[in-house]
Symmetry: C2
């Protein structure tokens, strides 16, 4: 790829903003509720694009039952249900035997997908909170999705006071498991620190601004704006580290070390303090290379056996992009259709 | 009461340290687990008091089922079950129909109480966490329990780096509802901010030090140390304020205002910002007098309809105290026995 080359990408006609995928991550719950009140106009700026096809923004409360109980999930983590998702068949799945979130994931796939098919929405932005001190992160499965990366750069420029990172989970589209994988493009917008079950005004406001700037960007893009290529820092997840645990009870025997707590995205070097045991001992990082920790002491990951994740930082060159012309788009649609037939 | 007068109080022979009364407040869970490992010696300092009757320290994990699920409670808030508590009768209560925490509260009353009777433990220290920025607080039902107030002053002196307050809930002993009300003396040791379901090392360490200093103080007291009278700031709870809510759905429509969030124990004046609605509007405090907010944006109180509590600050003069001599103690026991017969 030449740096000067302009990459032309299909128009983004349908965008989904999802909250409450985890029912106790409240910023997204309250933001989507608020967006649902605003019938039209404010977020979609329809009045400004009279001449163009309006952007369709779907606002989705993903897990209403978990929200109602203010829990992450009812039966199983909804945001791990989208790996081998299939559309809800007419006979459907009956509740009772099947975990609620398995049923709900099929409903969401029918609404926003089908995953991997041409009928899927163009972009899914799924709103999350973390107890970790991560600022605002976009988390995506790709480090070459120019739409996601350009949105990220736009948010960074528009919100200079918010620490912002792009996290890349290197998982194939086939193995991708989260709600945002249902869209043609997608990412989780993750903001912290905020305790689950709590709404902090500053976190809510940052999320609201992030979503607004994301939608603005989509409108600019659809209107033909050229977005210049540049380079972006990408944090690629390398591995997870679990808490030290009692071999019999599996209870944790240490907390994240005070020197590491809240230091998400600050390099962790070999022999740096990692944990402090409940009897007061310091345990150190035994890796061979400095890596970047994130999701440090995330509440929901105790049960997943993750005390923190470690990433490698790379600089990724993203190309100049613009929306396809109508002719280009028509050709592209035909191309996709023939791919699906194969 | 003359300031110079020395108040002589009964020896504290049995102390209970309780964790996990709320199963997702993890500092107390891990601290009590740790204390249970330390069979003897370290916390009880038995080796230092060879000549004296050793202090009996009961370490209690109050709500094992809630701990196992990492939830505040299973059926109902255990820490509201001790108002009209009665001992577990031999026939007992059978599970299934009765909320688990009602059964567990009777077990705990049998273990640590009976509440209000001479057989109860001398002191209950119940360990809690809050998502509010409250530092370390002792919360008690009395502003004239000299044992609790002297322990508070001891902790303040020993832990000068930790913001520390004494909160008084003005509730009669009859109406007191929490686990610590089962002891002859009792308080909750509440430390925050910490998300529920998360253990932060600094919070754990502060709680461990607080419990150690509390037990040290009891040993000093029992050994005959004279504790000088002095004055102490006491925050007496006046009222609670709920979140603004949608009149139909009862969903909250605002978060605590960024200017108030994390400002626990900083005076709140009439017309100060109180909430910020999800549409961006500022709502102001309409009270008539400045009061001291605390439990600002505590996670567990959303369901109780409490966004924050407000207190009045007073200076309370506490007298010089010492332990009763054996003769004084014998007379006191006789007095209590005749009271119970009545």
């Amino acid at each position: 790829m030449e740096v000067d080359e302009v990459v032309c990408l299909p128009r983004l006609s349908r965008v989904a903003v999802c909250g409450g995928t985890h029912g106790n991550e409240l910023s997204g719950v309250y933001l989507v509720r608020e967006l649902l009140k605003v019938k039209k106009g404010v977020m979609e700026k329809e009045e400004e694009q009279e001449e163009e096809e309006p952007l369709s923004v779907l606002k989705v409360l993903s897990n209403p039952r978990a929200m109602q109980q203010c829990r992450r999930y009812v039966d199983t983590d909804l945001n791990r249900c989208f790996t081998h998702i299939v559309s809800l068949s007419p006979s459907g799945l009956t509740s009772g035997t099947v975990p609620y979130e398995m049923i709900r994931s099929r409903e969401l796939n029918a609404m926003l997908g089908p995953k991997g098919r041409s009928g899927a929405v163009d972009l899914v932005c799924d709103l999350h909170n973390t107890t970790a001190n991560m600022g605002l992160c976009l988390i995506a499965y790709s480090d070459c999705d120019w739409i996601c990366l350009h949105i990220f750069r736009h948010l960074q420029r528009k919100m200079p006071d918010i620490p912002m990172r792009y996290i890349h989970f290197e998982v194939s589209n086939k193995e991708s498991y989260s709600l945002d994988s249902v869209g043609k493009h997608g990412f989780a917008m993750e903001i912290g620190p905020q305790p689950h079950g709590v709404a902090r005004s500053t976190v809510y406001t940052a999320m609201k601004a992030g979503v607004q700037h994301m939608l603005d960007w989509v409108c600019f893009f659809n209107s033909g704006t050229l977005f210049e290529g540049e380079s972006v820092d990408v944090f690629t997840m390398i591995k997870h580290i679990d808490y030290p645990r009692d071999s019999e009870t599996r209870n944790i025997t240490a907390a994240v070390h005070p020197h590491l707590q809240d230091r998400d995205f600050c390099p962790l070097h070999p022999e740096d303090p990692l944990f402090q045991t409940f009897s007061g001992e310091t345990l150190r990082y035994k890796g061979n290379e400095p890596l970047y920790p994130f999701f440090i002491n995330e509440c929901a990951y105790y049960e997943k056996g993750i005390a923190l994740s470690l990433a490698r930082k790379r600089r990724v060159l993203i190309p100049t992009i613009r929306v396809q012309t109508e002719q280009e788009q028509a050709a592209h649609v035909q191309e996709l259709a023939s791919e699906e037939e194969e």
